[in-house]
């Protein structure tokens, strides 16, 4: 199990909220940051800050080394073949939008298909919906089983010779479902389609390997994996990225600029117009170091144990509905408490120091599929403990009593 030594690395967790110790169960929204990451960002600004890829001076070299060093770390972390395949972005949303707006129109003709699921986060949903509208392509949905999983038999039927793009989350931010991305990639490739993977909820919590998954594009966010907000990445296979047009034009991304024609830098800088989020990349590098010191397998095991414990403890509360599959593979548990609205649940939990998400989790189509307007969600990370689960359960029992009293 994760020891208190890890927890102590996160200064923010050492505080009281409304007179109770903070129990942070909203890491699927954003993770907390360890001292090591905060210090790396601070130290960058105190010692190395300069613009990248241009300065002849010492600080310019240090900033460039730090920025490109972070790219190297991320490349190794997700096992890409080359740093040319790692484009820094603002986050997962930007990364997916680059694929939808640059790659999408270059391959889609009227009558072609984009295959997604109804479970996608809005960031892996709306770009494809809009791309379909713009190109006349058809948006198709992989059928969902009752527990939110998909089957490969359905995938074989849904993905056809007309399919050009398959886009799916590796791990759902609501249902705690892990999708068989490697198998889906093989099916997509057999039909000549590419697969785009939303890795926002998988990268922070488990070992991911681009070469093994054989996905064509993969998007991730730093802030969900201990790094600052504002930094993320798009992984793409080199041949695909090389054929794509840049999305943003400006400084940093040009090779030669003429009055009427310009040419672009090589990968990955072709897609990084403007001064990048250098300190964010430095923070991401430090976060990757931290995650690797703890070990991704260790983190994944810890979260699965916590999720199993949470499922068991939560099922002791009558009137509580848990959504998603049994024996989940990730530390996300989504639930509702009787007919008490999740906002009201979350407010009572907050009064007890327990932070959970309440709402539609940027998944309105999924909420409609579940036939609920919203849910509450507890999500775990490496700094959470069984005691956090116990405090959640205790607070939920209070919420239940409170509202039954109020309604009595």
């Amino acid at each position: 199990m994760i020891s208190s030594i890890i927890r102590e690395q996160f200064p923010i967790l050492n505080q009281e909220i409304n007179g109770h110790p903070l129990v942070y169960l909203d890491s699927a929204a954003t993770s907390q940051k360890p001292r090591q990451v905060i210090d790396a960002v601070k130290s960058y600004y105190e010692w190395d800050n300069a613009n990248v890829h241009r300065g002849v001076h010492t600080l310019g070299s240090r900033a460039t080394d730090a920025y490109e060093g972070a790219r190297e770390k991320l490349k190794n972390f997700i096992n890409a073949r080359s740093t040319k395949e790692i484009i820094f972005t603002r986050g997962t949303t930007t990364a997916l939008n680059i694929v939808a707006s640059s790659y999408g129109p270059s391959v889609l003709r009227e009558g072609d298909e984009i295959v997604i699921t109804q479970m996608e986060h809005h960031s892996n949903f709306i770009p494809w919906q809009q791309l379909a509208k713009k190109t006349g392509a058809t948006l198709k949905f992989l059928p969902l089983q009752k527990d939110g999983t998909i089957t490969l038999e359905d995938a074989e039927k849904t993905i056809t010779a007309q399919t050009k793009i398959v886009a799916i989350a590796y791990v759902s931010n609501v249902m705690g479902v892990t999708h068989p991305v490697k198998e889906l990639a093989a099916i997509a490739h057999r039909h000549g389609a590419v697969i785009v993977v939303d890795g926002a909820q998988s990268t922070p919590h488990m070992k991911v390997d681009m070469q093994e998954l054989d996905c064509d594009f993969y998007a991730l966010s730093g802030h969900k994996m201990l790094a600052p907000t504002g930094i993320g990445a798009l992984y793409g296979k080199k041949a695909l990225l090389e054929a794509m047009e840049p999305v943003e034009f400006g400084g940093e991304m040009i090779d030669d600029v003429g009055l009427y024609e310009s040419t672009w830098k090589e990968l990955p800088w072709k897609f990084e117009g403007g001064t990048p989020i250098i300190a964010g990349a430095v923070g991401l590098g430090a976060a990757i170091d931290f995650l690797q010191e703890v070990g991704m397998d260790h983190i994944h095991r810890h979260e699965m144990q916590l999720a199993a414990y949470a499922e068991q403890r939560l099922s002791e509360i009558s009137d509580l509905t848990i959504y998603g599959p049994r024996n989940r593979q990730v530390g996300v548990v989504t639930f509702n408490l009787g007919d008490v609205h999740p906002h009201d649940v979350a407010t009572v939990l907050d009064a007890e120091g327990v932070a959970v998400r309440a709402g539609h989790h940027c998944c309105q189509p999924l909420m409609r599929w579940l036939e609920v307007s919203s849910t509450a969600r507890a999500s775990f990370y490496l700094y959470n403990t069984e005691q956090d689960v116990d405090l959640l359960v205790q607070a939920l029992i209070k919420a239940k009593e409170y509202f039954s009293y109020e309604l009595g």
Partner: protein
């Protein structure tokens, strides 16, 4: 943090026994408004004649604060002139800022004053009043 400031009995009564919940069959003025950050939705219908809100009904889904506020709002504005209904909307904004506000004979609304201490919940309470403003704007634009 005292939860009883937020969840007063009168609020829970409006939540569990909403007034004016439903819809008109005829073509009354209809306003749909969402709270995109949290998923609350309200459909408000108003019957406005001769500058007076003759009747109001609402449907939708949301937390106890948003739905009880909608129930109270429809009660409060029924029979009021448009000008007075807008004054009440302004009073409600003041209430959410923690300022004194007067709703005349309709005191139930003051039970929502505690929402002011829960900043994350203010947008729940104001949803119905924003729908009212939007409806009155639409009505006035038609004329």
């Amino acid at each position: 943090m005292n939860l009883d400031d937020l969840y007063r009995r009168v609020i829970m009564d409006h939540y569990k026994n909403p007034r004016n919940r439903g819809s008109f069959e005829d073509d009354a003025l209809k306003i749909e408004l969402n709270n995109p950050t949290c998923g609350d939705r309200i459909t408000l219908q108003l019957k406005v004649e001769d500058g007076v809100v003759q009747d109001a009904r609402f449907s939708g889904e949301g937390c106890s604060i948003s739905m009880s506020s909608a129930s109270m709002m429809t009660e409060a504005v029924k029979g009021q002139t448009i000008a007075h209904a807008l004054e009440m909307a302004d009073s409600f904004s003041s209430l959410m800022k923690g300022e004194e506000a007067d709703f005349g004979d309709y005191e139930d609304i003051e039970a929502l004053s505690g929402v002011n201490k829960f900043p994350a919940r203010i947008k729940c309470a104001t949803l119905a009043w924003n729908a009212l403003r939007k409806g009155i704007d639409t009505k006035e634009a038609q004329q």
